[in-house]
Amino acid sequence: MTTVEAPAKRELAYVQAINEALTQLMRSDSTVFLAGEDVALYGGVFGTSRGLLKEFGPERVVDTPIAESGLMGLGLGAAATGLRPIIEIMFMDFMGVCMDEVVNQVAKMKYMFGGKATLPLTIQTMAGGGASMAAQHSQSLEAWFCHVPGLKVVMPSGPYEAKGLMVSAVQDDNPVMVVNVKTILGMRAPVPEEMYSIPLGKAHVVRPGTNFTIVATGRMVGESLAAADELAGDGLDVEVIDPRTLQPFDTETVVNSVKKTHRALVAHEAVRFGGIGAEYAAQIQEQAFDYLDAPVGRVGAPFAPVPFSPPLEKLYIPNAARIVAEVRSLLGKAG
């Protein structure tokens, strides 16, 4: 298993990249199993586990009742007794029905037990809006989990990250939540065929730039690249950074970038108020205060549940245009 940063030739869709990661992980380690609702016979409602039942059988690819607390506890109990579970919570919006297991049990068991427990547990879920699925099937709640000591959180921005981060998550000996983004499951990109990992806790400079830094997560990485192209027209040379791992956050890479560019903005799909962007912005101004020529901006969803009606939802979800607008207003604010 190697770490490959240079993109390969072969292209895969995001959903296929997840599927390939799961397949290779289960081939390489017999203690890895997948459990979730409709992950086996149906292959996952998003298709991420298609074909796994056939190859690995019902002992290792497990359809569960609709009982997320039981499901998450199953993962915890199995992880604490020598297995390497992958627990799928279909939509991130459903974390509420197993929140105690995630936050009070999974995240804290090791510390409460004085370090004795080792919990190689991966929680896989699907976040984001844009599919007209309304308020209970469209949320991005990663900020909650980044606030919980004991958890790691990753958010892949494309197929390459989807596979590499899934491999890293499953091979890590800690509970890791993999927050995939449902609206970019069809996105295609080169993905190496071998099982590679992407180091947790290291940000990726997606687009190098010299005079503005955009830190973007998940789907907003693509939107930020589009924004960067447009802003190039303003003579702005934007650096786009994808943290890849939201917790632990690679402060160093981001702060070094801002020390170089003197301006920054954080973009995510989650609600802006109390989103992870608040933490990142706070850290940037704490550690690069004397380098900042403008306040650290933030782009996120407005303070409302995700609406169903397509035009309202379109208005709700951050995009390249809003990022461009926010960057321009920050330049206006520049001291």
Binding site: V45, V97, A135, F308, S309
Partner: protein, 325 residues
């Protein structure tokens, strides 16, 4: 139990309304006119109709992701319903909820719900309120066989029995939770068996027979109104279409033959045959009903399609109740 002609025709009318609404909704979604996910109620009409015939607008229900049938049976307005599925400002939720959150508090319909198992806790709250306010009102909680495995059902059932709340838990056992058959999600056959574990009666009824549902629901609801507490009423039924959308044959998780078998017991033709035999409603008259309802549905669809989308300002409205003045 002898049932009045009015009631029989009312039950038939409710079923026709649901069936027609859903068939058209399915077509509209397949043609790309309705966004998002639709969970159709086709095949299960006898359950909502048989229960709702006993309820007034002051009686509440909690629903599920498969909620259109419940709202229609509760007296839902086709225009506002289609407009909601279309995401228009004229919809029940002004386009903000869509299929999975369609609701009408004025009818006591406390909302379709995107979270499986979310209904039971809300239902006991409404029932608690009915009791607290010394009304005779009842709350009916619809939930699926899949939902019966969620902890929320357990907690709500225990509390309902403990407080003798006026609530009826109506389990729509259609044999599947999404794509997982009942025998693959629980080790029991009758979900009603769970009732005794809470100290409430459990009843199993043929959910394809609207009269059977009407009768059993009547007893459970009357019992609740008398202050004798909750009942778990399991209705064995079947979903003719797929979990989401219309397609439902040639799927990996069930045999077409099973669908064919269940379709032989389609609640609507079965009931219409009975109405014909007993001279309550002739086949011609039945066709009339279908035709009238279809016209209503078509008018409602036209209304929805000609309705505006919500204005941009709506995005940030109604997140909170703003103090008057």
């Amino acid at each position: 139990m002898d049932v009045s002609r009015e009631t029989l025709l009312d039950l038939h009318h409710r079923m026709v309304r649901i069936r027609t609404f859903e068939e058209q909704a399915g077509k509209l979604q397949e043609s790309g006119k309705i966004p998002g996910a639709l969970h159709l109620y086709v095949g299960e009409e006898a359950v909502a109709s048989g229960v709702m015939a006993h309820l007034s607008n002051e009686d509440q229900i909690t629903s599920t992701h498969r909620g259109h049938g419940h709202l229609v049976a509760k007296g839902g307005d086709f225009k506002k319903m289609y407009a909601e599925l279309y995401g228009r400002a004229t919809g029940y939720c002004h386009g903000k909820g869509g299929s999975m959150h369609i609701s009408d508090l004025d009818l006591g319909m406390l909302g379709a719900n995107g979270i499986v198992g979310a209904g039971p806790p809300i239902a006991i709250g409404a029932a608690f309120s009915n009791k607290y306010r010394h009304t005779q009102n009842v709350t009916c909680c619809f939930f699926g066989d899949g939902a019966s495995n969620e902890g929320t059902f357990h907690e709500a059932a225990n509390m309902a029995a403990l407080y003798r709340l006026p609530v009826v838990f109506v389990c729509e056992n259609n044999g599947f939770g999404e794509f997982t058959s009942q025998e693959r999600h629980q080790a029991i056959h009758d979900i009603a068996e769970r009732a005794s574990g809470y100290g409430m009666p459990g009843v199993v009824v043929d959910g394809m027979d609207v009269m059977a549902v009407y009768e059993a629901a009547g007893e459970a609801i009357a019992r609740a109104r008398r202050g004798e507490g909750p009942t778990l009423l399991e209705c064995k039924t079947y979903r003719f279409y797929d979990h989401v959308g219309v397609r439902g044959m040639g799927v990996v998780y069930r045999d077409d033959s099973e669908v064919v078998e269940w379709r032989k017991r389609d609640p609507l033709p079965m009931f219409e045959a009975r109405l014909a035999e007993t001279g309550v409603l002739s086949p011609e008259e039945a066709l009339d009903v279908h035709a009238r309802v279809l016209t209503e549905v078509q008018e409602a669809i036209a209304f929805a399609e000609s309705s505006p989308y919500p204005p941009d300002e709506a995005l940030l409205q109604d997140v909170y109740t703003v103090a008057a003045g």
